[in-house]
């Protein structure tokens, strides 16, 4: 089995109480692959990311990482297995400084290229503000800290949930150019966005979610704008 995908989801379903948020999700992400996950408000993109890190319980189906079933692995062990999340809305630790937030990311102690020096190399702006309180940073700088915090665990799979949320277009371009250099060395990633443009530019695969289901998937160039719009809005 030389071609076991890095991440493999089979028939994944998840609920909030009685409300079913994910229906029967099948998805494979290969090593080094970058998948863009698009979809409208409430499609279930964040729920999918949360179920991958163990914050939302999976009711049915399975999650495998490098062929190993991790469906029932507790949330706090998943980072050790190589999954890192840049959550929607950044969710930095506000009583920690910039550098302390990054160090928290390194808690798992996984070996790899990412350490404080490498993060400051990627985002020199953060080096100047390493002792700063999170609340004094701009939105873009906060997003850099959130990305850095996730990278510090040297993940095999990086999950990015709406990196562009609330950021000016010029800042979004900056963040995405950093992301492009991050994934260049073979890190796998799922990049969630509402805006199709940004995410598809760096992705090898495009998936579209609607009402808790993956309704479109494949290489980005094989879909026309109409295809994507149709599955996005369900028209």
């Amino acid at each position: 089995m030389g071609d076991t995908p890095l991440l493999s989801l089979k028939g994944l379903s998840a609920f909030y109480g009685d409300f079913q948020a994910l229906f029967d999700i099948d998805l494979d992400i290969g090593g080094g692959q970058v998948a863009a996950m698009v979809g409208a408000n409430g499609a279930g993109k964040s729920t999918l990311m949360q179920s991958l890190v163990g914050l939302v319980a999976v009711k049915a189906g399975s999650i495998s990482l490098s062929g190993e079933d991790i469906t029932r692995v507790a949330a706090h062990h998943r980072v050790d297995l190589g999954i890192a999340l840049v959550p929607e809305g950044r969710r930095l630790f506000v009583s920690l400084t910039v550098e302390e937030n990054l160090l928290i990311g390194a808690r798992s102690g996984r070996p790899g290229p990412w350490n404080l020096g490498a993060i400051y190399g990627l985002f020199p702006m953060l080096a100047e503000r390493r002792k700063a309180a999170i609340t004094t940073l701009s939105g873009g700088q906060q997003q850099m800290v959130a990305i850095g915090r996730a990278l510090m665990s040297n993940p095999d799979l990086l999950l990015c949930d709406e990196l562009s949320l609330g950021l000016a277009p010029i800042v979004v371009r900056e963040i995405y150019s950093a992301l492009r250099s991050i994934v260049r060395d073979g890190l796998s990633a799922i990049v969630v966005e509402q805006d199709i443009q940004q995410a598809t530019q760096i992705a090898d695969r495009l998936y579209c979610m609607r009402q808790g289901r993956i309704v479109l998937g494949g290489a980005p160039h094989q879909f026309s704008r109409q295809d994507i719009a149709a599955s996005y809005f369900g028209v």
Binding site: A75, H76, L96
Partner: protein
């Protein structure tokens, strides 16, 4: 000069109140837990010290070396075995469970030690004092207690600000879900917070038992002083809590100097006054 003496006495008592209070605010900060049994665990520490001083013939200060690790361990196990099961979106279940625990501890201690007043003996230290000028005298025992209280609070502050464990506790307190994603086992971190909380209060519980009598029902009053110090100082501010404890101690001392029956009431009145006029506390950040 009588008044200066009174203020000094109150300040030193306030250091102990601040330790009760910091234990309470630590667990509230980390896991939004209100522990009604806090006061009874303080009293339990004093009984444990009583047993150790009597059976081993050691000084109460030496007994701390045994009492603190035991009570901290009890705290960790209580959190993992009991309180963790009650935590959720609702604040009420842990309050009810800790209320039950409070009653169990009070009655358990009553059965084991009877309802008699007890006191820890510290020998000649109890009457030694430091004279400053003609009229001011500082008891060596209260001074030592105050110094220990401040030292414990400084160490806790450094632990929270400067160590890896402290960083983890702050992260868990900020965002529990994201802390889990970063690899923290919150259940363990809550246990650590409770161990720290009760370790600190065990110190205060033993120190205050050298100074005044205690009996199985003394816990709730200690709990109230702790709460009052937290509120007076302002939630979430370690130095504010120290000052809150001192304000409470000083007000009680002044009240007691006016009329001994007025001592406890004076503290409650100032607490209510602060709650009415500055709900965020004297030194807290305004919400």
């Amino acid at each position: 000069m009588v008044w200066l003496n009174t203020v000094i006495q109150g300040t030193m008592l306030g250091g102990l109140y601040a330790m009760f209070a910091i234990g309470l605010s630590l667990i509230f900060g980390v896991m939004k837990l209100v522990n009604i049994a806090h006061g009874d665990l303080i009293v339990l520490s004093a009984y444990l010290a009583l047993v150790i001083t009597q059976t081993m013939g050691v000084d109460p200060f030496v007994s701390l070396l045994i009492v603190v690790p035991i009570i901290a361990t009890v705290g960790y196990l209580l959190q993992r075995g009991l309180f963790n099961r009650t935590l959720g979106d609702d604040l009420l279940p842990p309050i009810l469970v800790s209320f039950g625990l409070s009653i169990i501890i009070q009655n358990g201690v009553l059965v084991a030690f009877s309802g008699d007043d007890r006191r820890l003996q510290a020998g000649p230290l109890e009457v030694a004092s430091l004279r400053i000028g003609d009229t001011v005298a500082i008891g060596l025992l209260p001074l030592l207690q105050f110094v220990i209280a401040v030292a414990v609070i400084v160490v806790l502050h450094l632990l929270i600000r400067r160590t890896k464990t402290g960083r983890g506790l702050r992260a868990v307190s900020d965002d529990q879900a994201m802390a889990q994603v970063m690899g923290f086992n919150n259940r363990h971190m809550y246990g650590v917070a409770m161990a720290l909380s009760l370790g600190i209060t065990a110190v205060a519980g033993v120190l205050i038992a050298i100074r005044g009598n205690f009996d199985p029902s003394a816990g709730p009053a200690r709990l109230i002083y702790g709460f009052e110090a937290v509120i007076i100082g302002g939630v979430g501010n370690i130095w504010g809590t120290l000052l809150g404890g001192i304000v409470l101690g000083v007000v009680q001392a002044i009240g007691g100097a006016i009329d001994p029956r007025f001592q406890i009431l004076a503290g409650h009145l100032v607490f209510l006054l602060v709650l009415a006029l500055r709900p965020s506390g004297l030194f807290g950040v305004k919400a």
